[in-house]
C-alpha cells in the first residue's frame, strides 16, 4: 500500500511537472513578439535632450571610399545601410562574412534605399585602389556597396560606435581581432538590428529585419 502511494505520488509529481512545463511554454510563446510584425527595436543607450528621450545615434564620420572620394555620414543619410568591418588579407572570419554580405547585396541589388558599407581595419595595406580591386573581384557595384578606408584609429573607434569590437592583437590572425557582426543602420543613424556574419542562419533572420525596416519607409 505504501509502495502504491509512493507510485501515485511520483505519477502526480510527473504530471505536475508536465503541466508546469506546458504553462511555461505557453507563457513564453505568448510573450514572444511576432518577429515579422511591428517596427524594429532601437539599439544602444537612450539619452535625454531637452526633456526628450533620444535614441542612440551613430556619430558623424568622414572616411574615403574605394575611389578616394570622401564619404560622410550626411552622404549616407538618405539610405539605410548594412555595415561591417574587415580587411582584405584577413584569413579567419572575413571570407564567410563577405559571403553573407553578398547574400544581402544580391537580395537588395535593385532596392535603391539600401546600401552596404564595409570598413577596412587595415588602412595601411587596404588603400583605395586595393579596395576597388576587392570590389571588382567580388563582382559588386560600388554604387551599392561602398568600401571605406581612412585613419586607422578613427576606423577602430568607429567600429566601437557600431558595437563591433575591433582591436589590434599580435596574436590574432592578420594582427587585428574583430567581430564578424553586421549592423543595420536607418536613415536617422539609429542602430536597428545586428547579426553574426559568420552564421548563415542568423543572416537569414537579419534579411527579415531589413525587410521590416524597409516597410517603415514604404509608408512615407
Amino acid at each position: 500500500m505504501k509502495l502504491l502511494n509512493l507510485q501515485k505520488n511520483i505519477l502526480m509529481r510527473n504530471n505536475l511537472n508536465i503541466i508546469t512545463a506546458l504553462l511555461v511554454t505557453v507563457v513564453l510563446f505568448s510573450c514572444k513578439e511576432d518577429p515579422n510584425k511591428g517596427p524594429l527595436p532601437y539599439y544602444g543607450e537612450k539619452s535625454f535632450v531637452n526633456g526628450d528621450t533620444v535614441d542612440y545615434q551613430i556619430p558623424e564620420f568622414k572616411f574615403f571610399d574605394q575611389d578616394s572620394n570622401a564619404v560622410t555620414s550626411t552622404d549616407l543619410d538618405p539610405y539605410i545601410y548594412v555595415t561591417d568591418f574587415f580587411f582584405t588579407t584577413c584569413p579567419s572570419i572575413c571570407p564567410i562574412v563577405k559571403k553573407q554580405m553578398l547574400r544581402i547585396y544580391d537580395k537588395y541589388k535593385d532596392n535603391p534605399k539600401l546600401k552596404l558599407v564595409s570598413h577596412t581595419l587595415d588602412p595601411k595595406r587596404d588603400t583605395a585602389g586595393k579596395l576597388r580591386k576587392y570590389a571588382q573581384k567580388l563582382n559588386v557595384s560600388t554604387e551599392k556597396w561602398i568600401f571605406l578606408t581612412g585613419d586607422k584609429d578613427s576606423l577602430i573607434d568607429m567600429s566601437a560606435n557600431y558595437f563591433i569590437s575591433a582591436y589590434e592583437d599580435d596574436d590574432a590572425p592578420g594582427g587585428i581581432d574583430h567581430s564578424g557582426l553586421v549592423v543595420l543602420i536607418d536613415t536617422n543613424r539609429n542602430v536597428r538590428a545586428s547579426a553574426q556574419g559568420t552564421d548563415p542562419d542568423d543572416i537569414t533572420e537579419f534579411l527579415l529585419d531589413i525587410d521590416r525596416l524597409l516597410i517603415e519607409y514604404e509608408k512615407d
Binding site: P91, P95, K98, K99, Y134, K137, N139, V140
Partner: protein, 122 residues
C-alpha cells in the same frame, strides 16, 4: 568465431570503402573551407569556387597549390600554403574536390600526386 571475424572485416572493408572521400572531406573542412566555403562555392572571384572546375580541369595541380599556395592574377589575395599534409592526405583532398564537389568519376592516383610533389616544391 573465425567466420564472424571474416564477416566483421568484410563489413568494415565495405564501410570504409563507402567513405572513400571522408578523410578528404574532413581535411577540406579544416584546411580549405574557411576561404573556399564549406560547400566549395567560394566568394565571388575573391575565393574561387571549387564546385565549377569541371571535367577538363587538371586536378593534380591542386597538389602544387596546397604545397606552395597560389598568388592570384590580380595579386590582391594570395592563397597560403597548407603545411603538414602527407601525400595521401593531399590526394584525398583532391579526390574529394574532384568527385565530391564536381561529381566526376575516376580519381587522381596517389602515384600522380607523389610524382608531382617534388616538381611542385622545386
Amino acid at each position: 568465431m573465425k567466420k564472424i571475424s571474416v564477416a566483421i572485416a568484410f563489413f568494415l572493408f565495405i564501410a570504409c570503402n563507402h567513405n572513400t572521400y571522408k578523410q578528404g572531406k574532413d581535411l577540406y573542412e579544416s584546411n580549405c573551407a574557411q576561404c573556399h566555403m564549406p560547400d566549395g562555392t567560394g566568394v565571388g572571384d575573391l575565393y574561387p569556387a571549387l564546385t565549377k572546375l569541371g571535367p577538363n580541369y587538371d586536378y593534380s595541380m591542386i597538389t602544387c597549390y596546397i604545397l606552395n599556395g597560389k598568388k592570384s592574377e590580380s595579386s590582391l589575395l594570395e592563397m597560403v600554403a597548407i603545411k603538414g599534409l602527407t601525400d595521401i592526405e593531399i590526394n584525398n583532398i583532391i579526390n574529394y574536390v574532384r568527385a565530391g564537389m564536381n561529381g566526376l568519376k575516376g580519381e587522381v592516383s596517389i602515384a600522380d600526386t607523389r610524382k608531382l610533389i617534388p616538381e611542385c616544391t622545386e
